[in-house]
């Protein structure tokens, strides 16, 4: 039970008790004793199974981490259920990872098996370590975002169900990081993922001239457009959009709701692949467009799921050990990837903005 239990504070109390600028509590309050004791003195680690690893300190102390996948959105009762398990096996200490997984921290090896057994019985999915798929980073989608072109959690759930074996058991050549952004604004920063799904708009947005003058700042709307497609429309006290310049990024909508970019029939999903964050072997890579458009098909987005799975299987079959998806494609060439995958090469996949000089080919040395 929390500090105030079920009791709600009164407005008077709130005024008296509140304090600004305290910042987060210091993390040392929440560290497992073994972690606290060996902070900065870890020697090595070993991944023991798809969801279990052990870290050994210079002192010889060990801490086991059991990783469980989550869908990020979590009910408070699930948090409490996790707490009960953590109290039982982990002395009350737990952490979340940067990919929204839970790590149960175990200092007594005897607790390792019973913990995993209970987690499995309660339906938790253990895995995601080593050369496998870990949780798919994603945005809010229709659950809570004003700008979402699609749902986020729904596609993630459908994709992750399909690739579950690569989380819990099967190995890939290297780790594979999936991500989803529910509009081109990309709060999920999916642009450096092995495979990412990005929701896109495909149509010049209509302008509601009656509302625009009343609720939007016209200079801000004009300045928001990266391709200078928006200009003033003094007669209507609004703006006009030059169709041939608009590439449907939706930035105008972000600053002005009277330009309604959302279109249930035309909004769709693009697939970008081959990115990575870390600098192991090769520098950080951007994900590149391979499939420009798939219709938005809730509740389980079968074509998106099939596309992701197809690319994963191709990678699993062809890449060398330790090669990330993008490194594999760099080695074999994109022309080879398109041939192997059977994915249609489209105009959309050719850069036509300031980046084209970086991405077009300038040699006669390519493969057929």
């Amino acid at each position: 039970m929390g500090f105030y239990g079920d009791r709600k504070l009164t407005a008077e109390e709130a005024k008296r008790l509140r304090e600004t600028d305290i910042g987060p509590p210091h993390y040392s309050n929440f560290l497992h004793p073994v972690i606290k004791k060996n902070y900065g003195k870890w020697k090595e680690h070993e991944i023991l199974s798809p969801g279990v690893m052990v870290h050994t300190a210079e002192s010889g102390d060990k801490i086991w981490s059991v990783r469980v996948q989550t869908c990020r959105l979590i009910a408070t009762d699930t948090v409490r259920e996790v707490c009960d398990i953590v109290d039982k096996y982990c002395g009350g200490y737990v952490r979340w990872t940067s990919r929204n997984n839970i790590e149960f921290l175990v200092s007594d090896e005897k607790n390792l098996e019973p913990l995993q057994k209970e987690l499995k019985e309660k339906g938790y999915m253990i895995g995601g370590m080593g050369p496998r798929i870990s949780n798919m980073v994603h945005t809010q989608g229709w659950v809570h975002c004003h700008g979402a072109a699609t749902d986020a959690s729904g596609i993630v759930k459908a994709v992750m169900d399909e690739v579950a074996d690569y989380i819990t058991t099967k190995e890939l050549p290297a780790k594979l990081r999936l991500a989803l952004a529910c509009c081109p604004n990309m709060c999920g920063a999916v642009h450096c993922s092995d495979i990412a799904v990005v929701a896109i708009h495909t149509k010049v947005p209509p302008v509601d001239h009656d509302r625009l003058g009343k609720i939007c700042e016209i200079p801000t709307v004009i300045a928001s457009c990266p391709t200078k497609a928006i200009s003033p429309d003094p007669a209507k006290k609004s703006v006009k959009i030059k169709d041939e310049r608009c590439m449907y990024c939706g930035n105008c909508f972000t600053v002005c709701p009277a330009i309604d970019i959302k279109d249930p029939y035309r909004d769709g999903l693009a697939i970008v692949i081959g990115g990575k964050v870390n600098c192991l072997r090769t520098p950080t890579k951007f994900s590149r467009l391979v499939i420009p458009y798939i219709s938005n098909e809730p509740p389980r987005w079968p074509k998106v799921v099939a596309a992701v799975k197809h690319i994963i299987e191709l990678y699993a079959k062809n890449a060398r050990k330790h090669e990330r998806l993008g490194e594999w494609i760099d080695r074999i060439g994109w022309e080879r990837f398109f041939k192997l995958s059977g994915i249609e090469f489209t105009y959309q996949a050719i850069d036509d903005f300031t980046f084209m000089r970086e991405t077009l080919r300038n040699q006669s040395t390519f493969k057929w």
Partner: protein, 415 residues
């Protein structure tokens, strides 16, 4: 409570991966807000459209951020989500929790909100998903209450044109590769800049992420305006017995390590593994694969990179190296000073909604480097520029001319 039929969402309760629909339903069973969230989400699935309005300005007294205003576009159908604001709660470094503190946060979320949380949002905050305007002050008071012990007192995170909630990898808490204390750096920077975090005074958002090594487990290079990535200066230490252990375990050292080294600085003759450390670029491939045999040594610090952003508006940018090596030790004075200098320059040179990476492109890297007091060195670039159009200051020319005068005196060219 109204019972919504959710045939489409029900499809997402099937399958092995954890179901967010089950989570929403769990909350909806005892919370009217969560129930209407479920109803509206089903309607979105049916019509393929979101129904949340643009954010309005809501918040707590004295702050300009931390709360994202959210209102349903369909309040007549889903009255309990007419007001459904997001509250960002600044997470502890490394997302470590005790069950005591998780229960405290869960209770606050239940009492004043929908009973749905995000663990965690993209920037790192713990998120209470959905509450009313009138409950915001109560949530804030209960989070920060002076009556509570220090470890139970939480503050809001950042939003809008402010320093956003910094985040970090697990660092030295549970990783042998962390080249600096990422969690302490994250904590101290968060505390130092509370004003910049809570009161948006910038032209746009600014994010920090602290990663302990090139593995970059918090994606700092791809998700923060200022990416602080741990590195080291000494040689890689080799335990030759452990090299053998890896080989015995089935590792093909020649193929997996020697041939995959990007600088070709490793050799192995079947007996001894050798590394030409001067040529190593510290990419972490060999260390991460032969984790029992190899480890970094010597002086530790971080590479500071600047400018990352997502594609809107001028295309995505990955952070650029500006300081190849900086000591990162508490109280992080040098780093804090750098942050202030960067923000001053950004503030003076940007328009609203321009990220620092964009402004560096418009104004040129030189302007930025001079403002933060950093001299150019080749570690900053992949390759020099390819065109002959570049700026000179009077001072530059004077310097070149002066040097040539020196050369004439000594008869020795200096390039």
């Amino acid at each position: 409570m109204k019972k919504y039929e959710t045939p489409l969402l029900d499809e997402l309760e099937k399958g092995p991966f954890p179901s967010f629909v089950k989570e929403i339903k769990k909350a909806a069973a005892k919370n009217e807000m969560a129930n209407d969230e479920l109803g509206q989400l089903e309607y979105s699935f049916k019509t393929k459209r979101g129904y949340w309005k643009h954010g309005g300005i809501v918040g707590v007294l004295g702050y300009g951020g931390g709360v994202i205003g959210r209102y349903s576009d369909l309040p007549h159908m889903f009255p309990n989500v007419e007001f459904f604001h997001t509250v960002r709660v600044n997470q502890p470094s490394g997302w470590f929790y005790t069950t005591e503190v998780l229960r405290e946060l869960a209770d606050i979320c239940d009492k004043y909100g929908s009973g749905i949380m995000n663990m965690h949002g993209s920037t790192g905050d713990l998120v209470f998903l959905g509450t009313t305007t009138e409950n915001l002050e109560l949530i804030f008071a209960e989070l920060t209450s002076k009556e509570k012990p220090a470890h139970l007192r939480f503050d809001l995170g950042g939003s809008g044109s402010a320093m956003r909630t910094p985040s970090c990898c697990v660092g030295q808490a549970r990783c042998e590769w962390a080249n600096y204390d990422t969690m302490e750096a994250c904590h101290q920077i968060t505390q130092e800049f509370q004003d910049e975090l809570h009161r948006p005074a910038f032209n746009y958002k600014f994010k920090f992420k602290f990663a302990g090594c090139a593995c970059d487990c918090c994606a700092s290079i791809a998700r923060s305006d200022c990416s602080v990535i741990g590195t080291w200066k000494g040689p890689i230490l080799i335990d030759q017995d452990a090299v053998k252990w890896h080989e015995k375990k089935g590792m093909d050292i020649s193929r997996e390590i020697v041939k995959m080294c990007p600088t070709e600085c490793i050799s192995y003759d079947g007996k001894e593994l050798k590394i030409n450390n001067d040529e190593c670029n510290r990419c972490m491939h060999c260390i991460s694969k032969m984790h029992h045999a190899l480890k970094p040594s010597g002086e530790r610090g971080a590479t500071i990179c600047i400018g990352n952003k997502a594609p809107i508006v001028i295309g995505t940018i990955i952070s650029h190296v500006i300081i190849p090596f900086m000591k990162m030790e508490p109280p992080f004075t040098e780093f804090k000073e750098l942050a202030r200098k960067m923000w001053d320059w950004w503030d003076e040179n940007s328009h609203p909604r321009e990220r620092i990476g964009e402004v560096i492109e418009f104004k040129g890297m030189r302007s930025f480097l001079e403002a933060i007091g950093v001299e150019p060195i080749p570690q900053m670039i992949k390759e020099p520029r390819r065109d002959p159009f570049f700026f000179f200051t009077e001072g530059d020319i004077e310097r070149f001319k002066k040097r040539e005068e020196e050369e004439k005196k000594t008869g020795k060219f200096i390039f």
